[in-house]
Symmetry: C2
Subunit: 344 residues, 2 copies
Amino acid sequence: MVKKPSKKPAERRSAVAKTPTLADIAAEVGVTKITVSRALNAPEQLSPATLEKVRAAIKRSGYTPNLLAGSLSSNRSRLIVALVPSIAGAMFTATMQKVAEHLQEHGYQLLIGQAGYDDAREDALLEAVIGRRPDGIILTGIVHSAQARQKLRAARIPVVETWDLTPKPIDMLVGFSHPAIGKAAAEYLWKRGCRRPAIISPDDRRARLRAEAFSAVFAAKKYAVPVVEAPAPTPMGDGRSGLTALLKTHPDIDGVFCGSDNLALGALIEAKARGIMVPRQLRIIGYGDQSYGKDADPPLTSVRIDGAAIGRIAAEMLIARATGRPPKHKVVDVGFTLVERAST
Amino acid sequence: MVKKPSKKPAERRSAVAKTPTLADIAAEVGVTKITVSRALNAPEQLSPATLEKVRAAIKRSGYTPNLLAGSLSSNRSRLIVALVPSIAGAMFTATMQKVAEHLQEHGYQLLIGQAGYDDAREDALLEAVIGRRPDGIILTGIVHSAQARQKLRAARIPVVETWDLTPKPIDMLVGFSHPAIGKAAAEYLWKRGCRRPAIISPDDRRARLRAEAFSAVFAAKKYAVPVVEAPAPTPMGDGRSGLTALLKTHPDIDGVFCGSDNLALGALIEAKARGIMVPRQLRIIGYGDQSYGKDADPPLTSVRIDGAAIGRIAAEMLIARATGRPPKHKVVDVGFTLVERAST
DNA sequence: CCGGGAAATGTTACCGGTAACATTTCGAAG
DNA sequence: CTTCGAAATGTTACCGGTAACATTTCCCGG
């Protein structure tokens, strides 16, 4: 079984000039690879003279460490992936911002993946994400299939679910109760004298949880709350048309619980266009407390979620895990605040 | 020089049960690693019987391929990274959406990194991104340092810059001319009879390009356009306060060129609150043509950018590159549209 | 001048895949 | 029953780093 000797490495792969590697730097300086590796990851272990020489060589060559190789070897990728249903969702941006900041301080990098609303795609994305072996995954309000949950568990990657309080978290969780919000909004409107409220809601699962809890409160008072749904993400226009639709079938409504500030703002505009006095004749309450709500006329009452806090806590949890320290709490409820303004 | 024999592999690394690898699957089925690899990447090369057995074993074990290892070996990561200045920027979401769709169809994955407004951070992020050896990078309106540009070139990773027409692109480019927009807006307002316009603008570089070109047109007509700047990203409130500030010093203005629809909407609200008739006394024009603009009262004239087209073209360029085919054009100008509505 | 421990650097063997080439198997033609 | 090329599978050597342990260097007190 005679075998031809294989070609020399240099000829093996593509012929174009490669980017420099650790070995190149090491050869240039006259040390071994591990010394260069230490210059990057544990500089305090090297003598000042060696460190200086290595750094100079790195700068000269424009060397950029291949993190794929490093991660593969060390089994730590210093990468956290956050999956959001849609990049467009204004709600999550504050959270992501905070997560990115926090992680950066600890030498981790955040990459954001868009899961979309398609279930098959979600599975494929998750597979790809797990394949890259991140040190942690942040899930934002994603409906994951049983199979996906199974894969996540099997991968042994720390997971934080956010923006919701699911009954059986995969691992860790930072969120709040959507039904509690619906209930609070209903009770608040009732207290303000509202007796015939309606709902305009996005058609996503969590918005429905809020809407249902809202309806339940009034159902207990023998009133069936009319509901109009609009496909997420909801533009302002859907708030206008939503109110129009509601008024056609229920001209006597005296309040609207909107599933997003966008919808609420649209309803507000439509009400004004029709000469309906807000809040005198119609009380409007939104959700999300977007920055533009307080600039509306009248300023918009809304439910405020501390997205930044969610981000901070989620990041802390993952960092704690990555450093071998278990987080104090695996489940955190950040609650919500009803911000009262002139629209109610 | 006697050396102790090293410990067996199983004892070398962490003792916890590992996730399965290609080798595990191969052993279970009774083939070699490469056969399992082919089952995943080139199933047509295997006999139906073998393929079936391998697939069954994969499913049974819950195996997820380690893409770090695969990418390292094959030198293709099937990963495209997009860097945006801020996740919150509503403008880029349409682009990212389209990019994600397009890439997914071709088996690539999109990950989004937030560069932030900090320059030092931008360099660090870029280093980390290059380190992960993506097959392509999409830059959205980022001011990159000379050093960063150098690194990008050295990394030989295909790069598409977007949302701008820079004079010396790093590699490929899909954008439009910001000065052309400023000029067009100015000429349009002039034609509508506007003689004393003002500007409310975010303080980012590209918004300034538009503002300066706008001012230049009126400077040629011997009128110095007053400017108010607000820190990006601009909330509606800054539009309100911006108009207030302008009216204090220039009570005779008859038009406002706003650097974002948010600012324009804020100005609109403030004008209404002051009883200023729009467009009769004050013409307002925005930028971005966000969905809520047409629901404003009056509907907002704005400059529309086809963000989806930018995304599609950028993705096409990168895919073309990745498949060895050079793209038809390295620089594409997608232009813009002035959408005329009742606010002017 | 020597011993010994800390500091600095080196050696070896992987991490988990894929490229490139080699070999074996198999069906159909001669 | 060969022969032969295509199809199926295997072998070997990496990709570019890091872990774990080994060795060498250096400095200091005795």
